[in-house]
């Protein structure tokens, strides 16, 4: 169950998009917002948040703290657990859900879904500290067109995904989901390919006879992680 902490210093408060939900009625004038009228101004991109606040503004005289979920600032560990669980659920949905499959791979609708033209993976999920906004980093393996199709298909199904996630996970407020393209895997792959090429060129320069089946000795200076033991 969510642990609601009303913090005096809003240092957990993430960038301005979620300040609309960092609401603490006890604080006189925090930088985020203190009155309901300011909420209505700042909640532009949040249709659902607006719903909450407009609902609340109708009975502004009542005790605002009773309203559901918006005041919660969850603990860090819980945020991580929720992020991991969302990643599992979304990955599972990408594999099993028919609607999503048709969205990312148009040829699945024709039946040709066993030989893939592009492969979509969820590489990372970031949850804001109040569990309201979820940024999902999606990495697509394939050509340009496949990437565009997959990402636009996912973005068009964001609301559907949100509804499905709400059914699968028991959260007080299902967060808003944003899909972002993740290029880090591809960039890393390009870098490693370039390093491979340099290494093979160096080997051909040094010993032009023996070049094909070199055991890879020391990758430590070229690795992404520093403390990985590379076993041949």
């Amino acid at each position: 169950m969510p642990h609601c902490i009303v913090t005096t210093t809003n240092h957990h408060c993430p960038p301005p998009i979620t300040t609309a939900s960092c609401y603490s009625p006890l604080l006189p004038s925090s930088s985020s917002s203190s009155s309901v009228s300011r909420f209505r101004e700042s909640s532009i991109g949040f249709p659902t948040a607006k719903f909450h606040y407009s609902f609340r503004s109708s009975n502004s005289n009542s005790n605002r703290r009773r309203k559901v979920g918006v005041i919660c600032m969850a603990k860090e560990r819980r945020v991580k657990m929720v992020a991991k669980q969302i990643q599992r659920e979304l990955s599972d949905m990408l594999l099993t859900d028919q609607v999503l499959q048709y969205a990312i791979l148009p040829e699945a609708a024709l039946g040709a879904d066993r030989y893939l033209s592009s492969l979509t993976t969820i590489s990372d999920v970031e949850v804001s500290s109040d569990l309201q906004v979820v940024k999902v980093y999606v990495s697509v393996f394939g050509d340009e067109r496949g990437k565009e199709v997959a990402l636009s298909g996912l973005k068009s199904k964001a609301k559907y995904v949100r509804g499905q996630l709400g059914k699968r996970m028991k959260l007080r407020l299902t967060p808003e989901i944003r899909f972002i393209e993740d290029e880090s895997l591809e960039r890393g792959s390009r870098v490693i390919a370039i390093l491979d090429k340099i290494k093979s060129e160096k080997n051909t320069v040094e010993n032009p006879l023996v070049e094909s089946s070199d055991p890879v000795e020391d990758w430590d200076d070229e690795d992404d992680d520093d403390d990985i033991i590379y076993v041949k």
Partner: protein
Amino acid sequence: MAKAIPKKGSRGRIGSRKSIRKIPKGVIHIQASFNNTIVTVTDVRGRVVSWSSAGTCGFKGTRRGTPFAAQTAAANAIRAVVDQGMQRAEVMIKGPGLGRDAALRAIRRSGILLTFVRDVTPMPHNGCRPPKKRRV
């Protein structure tokens, strides 16, 4: 049926016969779970030639599930096979997990031609009851 007990002498050399095969075309199976990635290289019929996983590459614990571990596992598995002369391969991917993407990119980087990429995640037609939902 009990397995045939190998007689002394004549049947003892079956194990060493496998490593001399030359296969130009093979199948690479990638099983990518959330905590680990296993890459198995087989021939077209399904007989395993070599395999490697993130755990056998020296990673332990949570690092086995990372994409970097997946690409080292794939590179390890393929290196043993490229020497045997495999040029084309079909890839079968199973499971969710970060290893799917990373291992695929590693395979493409290694110079083996990818003919097909297939997803063979086992999908029940509503069979066994899945484990209970995790409470967060």
